[in-house]
Every structure is written in C-alpha cells, then in structure tokens.
Amino acid sequence: MNVQSEHLAPGLQAVVPSEDVALRPIPGPSALGGGWRRSFELLALLAVTEFKKTYFGTALGYLWSLARPLMLFAVLLAVFTQVFRIGSQVPNYPVLLLFNIVLFGLFQEATMGAVQSLVNQEAIVRKTQFPRLVIPLSVVLTTLFNLGLNLIVVFVFIFAWGIDPTWTWLLFPVVLVLMLILTTAVSMIVSALFPRFRDTAIIWSVAVTVLFYASPVLYPLEAVPEALQEVFAVNPLAVILEAGRHWIIDPTSPGPVDAVNGWLGLIPPVAISLGICGLSVWLFRREAPKIAEQL
C-alpha cells in the first residue's frame, strides 16, 4: 500500500494496515455500550462540563445555585416559625429545615433535570456512539457536585447553631448514598419514559411537589397524625430524612427505625426502594436501544 502522502495532517502517521483484523459483533446502542471505562470517562466529562457551565457561565456563578435553597429556606423558616409555629416545637428546627431542603434538593433537582436530559442531548444521542445511561447519570452527578458545595454551607450553619459533632456524623455518607441510589433510580425511570411519553415531564414536576410536602422535609414524621403515620412511613425518602435528622441534627429524635415503628415498619420502604431500583434497571435497558428513534 502506498503510504504517507506529502500533506498529511500534522501528528498523523500513515499506518500500514495491521494483520490483526478480527471481526467483532456490533451490538448496537445500549445503556452502557462501549464499555465501562468509556462510560465512566464520558460520565465524568459530561458532569464536569455541565458543572463548569453553571458556575463559570454567570457572573455570580455558584452564589446563584446556593441562593435558591437559601431563599426557600428563609421563606419556609418564616412561615413555619412565625405563622404555623410547628417549628417552635421541634428542636434545632432551622438547622433541620435547611438540612432537609438541601438533601431533598438532590432528589428534586436531579430527577427534574434527568426527565428531559435525553432529549436535551439529542445531538449526542443521534449523532455519536454514546452509552445512553451516561446522560441521566451525568445530571445526577452534576447535582451531586452541587450538593457537595451546598453541604459546606449547611455544616457551617450547623456549627454556628451550636450543634456538637457526634460519632453518628460518620454515618452521614450512608444517608447520602441511600439518597443517591434512590435519586439515580428515579432519574433513570423518568428519563427513559420521557422520549416515549412527553407528558412525563409535567406529571413528574407535580409528583415532586407532592413528594416535597409528603416527605418529612418541613416537619418531622412524628408530627404527622397517628392515623396517617403508617402511610407516610411507606415513603423511602421519609426514612432517609429521618435517619439524617437523627444522626446529624438531633440525636433525641426517634431515628429511622423508631420513626417507622420498628424494624417491621422498615419493610415497606425498603421493598419500595428495591422495586424502584429493579424497575429502573429493567426499564432503562429495555428503552435504551430505541431512544434515538423516538427523539
């Protein structure tokens, strides 16, 4: 074969065809096509890119993303300590409120961002070989970076409020990981549904609002009337938030097990979580090969 023409682009070497040309089957598009390594690299790249865009794109950058939970916090704090006064009966209520808002914010922002993520990244999905799962996961990861920054503010606030660290703070990663798993699973479900059913976005925005009020974000679970407590305790988010409260903010609170009336009470939320995780994997694997056709 005639090699090396004069005007090859710089950096390119003419390559003599190798003899090693084994045919490998091409399976087509899938959730993680192209291998784990490539998927991880792309995930990191997309998430970092998105993160940079948020924080270096605007003049005040990071402040804006912090401003949102803080504003919400200020309003809710005023309402629930001055108007409804539920806050005055809960120890460390302002800290708890901020902590819950930021933690629930991970779930809320990631799932809301994930819904339309595949459609928003249409160019990538339709024009390159790209593992589909990386797209919603990158939204979750970006939100997680965000949460990391917000948590700094939260812990500054916790110290300032005068809460002393205890050994249970070491359990905080457990809270975070559980929240992250649930968030990821739900993100996978809603993002896989959206290309096919476009009203997933509207339905999900309503559902998140409902979940915000139905989960113990603004109030502790024990403040819920007895009759309703069992219903509220089915929600996996409730268990996670109560665990965070018990371990970080207020050791005197019931904790994740007692809040749902003992170990037996943990069965429904755990079962629901596992169900959501299973559904997410099944659904995403099923939809992934067809996503490009539905955009």
Partner: protein
Amino acid sequence: MQGQTGVTQRTGAPPAAEANGRAPVVIEARGLHKAFRIPEHRVDSFKERAAHPFRRIEYRELQALNDVSFDVHQGEFFGIVGRNGSGKSTLLKILASIYRADAGTVRMAGRLAPFIELGVGFNPELTARENGVLNGMLLGLTMKEARRRLDAILEFAELEDFVELKLKNYSSGMMVRLAFAVMVQADADIMLVDEVLAVGDAAFGQKCMDVFRERREAGKTIVLVTHDMNTVQEHCDRAMLVHDGELKFIGDPEETAARYYRLNFAVARDQADDELDAQLNAVSDDDAVRVISARLTDEGGRAIRNIEQGEPLRLEAVLQARREWLRPKFVVHGLTIDGTVVFEFTLDLDSAEEDRVAEGERVRLAGQIENPLVPGRYTLNCWVRRDVPGNNWAMQAMQLLEFDVYGTASRWGVVTLGNDLAVEPQPGSRP
C-alpha cells in the same frame, strides 16, 4: 455518445480490484432488517392512552431496511448511495450504533468513528481546549487520547493563540476549523461519513474529501453515505445502491451511479404527465402564439421531465395561432440554465397548401434532437417568426419546457462529443 468519457480523477489510489482481492473484511453486515412502526394516531402522551385505553393502536409498518448484507474491505473508499427515504441513513445509523437493527448482525474489525455532524456536543460556554477534548471523546477517543492529540488539533486548526477563548467568542469559521481538526485527529480504523459533511461550502467539502482520501491511503477504511453521484464517482472504489430499503446493486461506482439515475428518474417519469402540461400552459399566454402542450417523451410516448444522457430528445409540442400567421418560421433554441444557447434550428411550416396558419388553428412541432448534452438542466425555447423578405420579424418567443439530463459523465463543458484523439510518444524523440 454513450461511451461516457468519464473523467474520474482517482489519483494515486490502488486499484479497487486489487484491494478487494487481498484486503480483509472490516465491516460485515448480514441480513439487516429495520422497520419503523408509525402510529396512525400519534400516542405519545398518557392522556391519549387513558382516554382510549382499549383502542388498539394501529401502526403502519415502514420497512426501512430489508435483508441488507454486504462486506467492506480494509482500505476501501466505499459509497452507500440512495435517495432520501431509501434507507441509507437508517443503515448509517445502524452501523454507527445509533439505531439497533430488528434482525441481522453487524461485525467490525477495529474502531469506528461516525462523522455525522461537525462539532457534535460543542458548547459555547467552554474553551476551545475543553471543546476539543469533549468532541474528540464523542468521536470515540479515550480521554487520554483526546488530551494527547489536543495540541495537534489546535495546531491543525491554527487556533493555538485562542486556546483559552470560549467558543461563543469564536467566529463561525474558527469553529468549523476546530471541529474539522478534531475530526481529522479522531481518525479511527473505519470512518463513517454522512453526506451532510460534504455539502455546503464546496471548498470545505473538497477539503474533507482530501483528508478522507489521505486516511484511506494510510490504510483506513472510509464509508461515505451520500446521494451525490459526482462524489461517488470521483472518490469511491466501490459503491452500493439502496432503494426502498433493499440493496439493488453493489460494485463499480460508475455502474452504481448509472443505476441510481435510472432508478430514480424512472420514478419521476410516471408522475410527470399531467402536471407537466398544466404547468406549461401557463408559461405563455400572449398575443400571437399559445402553447397548448409541450413535452419530451420517451420511446413509448410517455411524457418525461428527465432524460438520460445520450437519449435523443423527443419533442412534441402543439402551438395555437391566436391570430393569423403568415409565412411563419419556427426557431427552436436549446439553452443551458445560465442562458448559453447550445443549439438552434429554424423550421418552416410543412404544409401542402398555403404558407399560413389561420387564427385558432394549431400546429404540431415534433421530432427528435440528438442529445450530446452533459448532465445538467436545460431549457427549450421556441420563437415564431414571420418571414418577410429582408426582415425577420419575431411574432413571439416562448419557453417550451425545462428538462434535466442525467448521467454519469463529467459535467465539464456543455456537450460530450465523440472523438478519436490519441496521445502517444513521438517516435525517435527519446534522448
């Protein structure tokens, strides 16, 4: 005329036959099927579902690919051609792992990079450096490779001085240069190129093709999906024709192109009849002459709008005198689309009686014209003149029709002419 003096400039390429005989297969497609189910009522909301839970959704099955099998060999410049809707884009997307085939297998040797659009994933908020890495990875490089090649990319794009500039501050020319440089550097073993890359700026399209040819000479395999037959003839070693989801031909690019034209313009023929007449009636509605109908026909007398190169132009026109014509002359002009007159014939009225046409009377202008025209668009005009001694008085000029000549010959010049030119060494001149 048929002896197409095909001036295909395939320079420095190893003969395709030789490559085929030896080179191993790098893409092997077997029995590819792909159908799209198109719902009769689009059901993409839950509400639709909820409102009619028991209505079976009716689908129309669109067979985009039907049992397509082929091989591409290493080092080939391979063309996949077909017109819009033929299934070639679906095939491209299956090869690129964007769509999944319903049935059939694809196997490949080596890494494939799809070039479907320049600068996929470019983000205006990021710098050239960041975008270069991002785009390189989307084209299949690993992060390490993408970083390693970044300098070469920026150098090739001549953007070393603007590395940290955000893309939104780039001119569109700089952006294209960056995207193109990434594409050049992201060279995979197999490059899958969509035609959109080649359209637009002609100079840029040429530059792309030059790069692909260089890569091919370096042993890489290029698969080009296009409906531009000139590109296929000029660059490809082999080509394959897809039509209505089926593989119609695979082999010599010239032959592929010829079949493409035949297949696609044959479709146009059937539709041409009625609409053509109606359209042309409107062309001239002036004082002296009215065009009742004007058409080119094929051998069977059916109206056609496009004619294969070398096929005689069979003209059939009916003109009506709207006032009396005395001693009329009929001048037929053939013009290129930019107005150059290619031929002119002057015809007398062929009448046994007197040399006049009464008001309301019709004349029929018909016959064959030899057709050495190169592929392109042409116009046939007709003048009706009155022959007054010493003075040619034009009564009216009108456009009869427009037509396309299709074929695989070079588009240079206006006509292709038979010749027996030869070049040989002059005897006795060797020192």
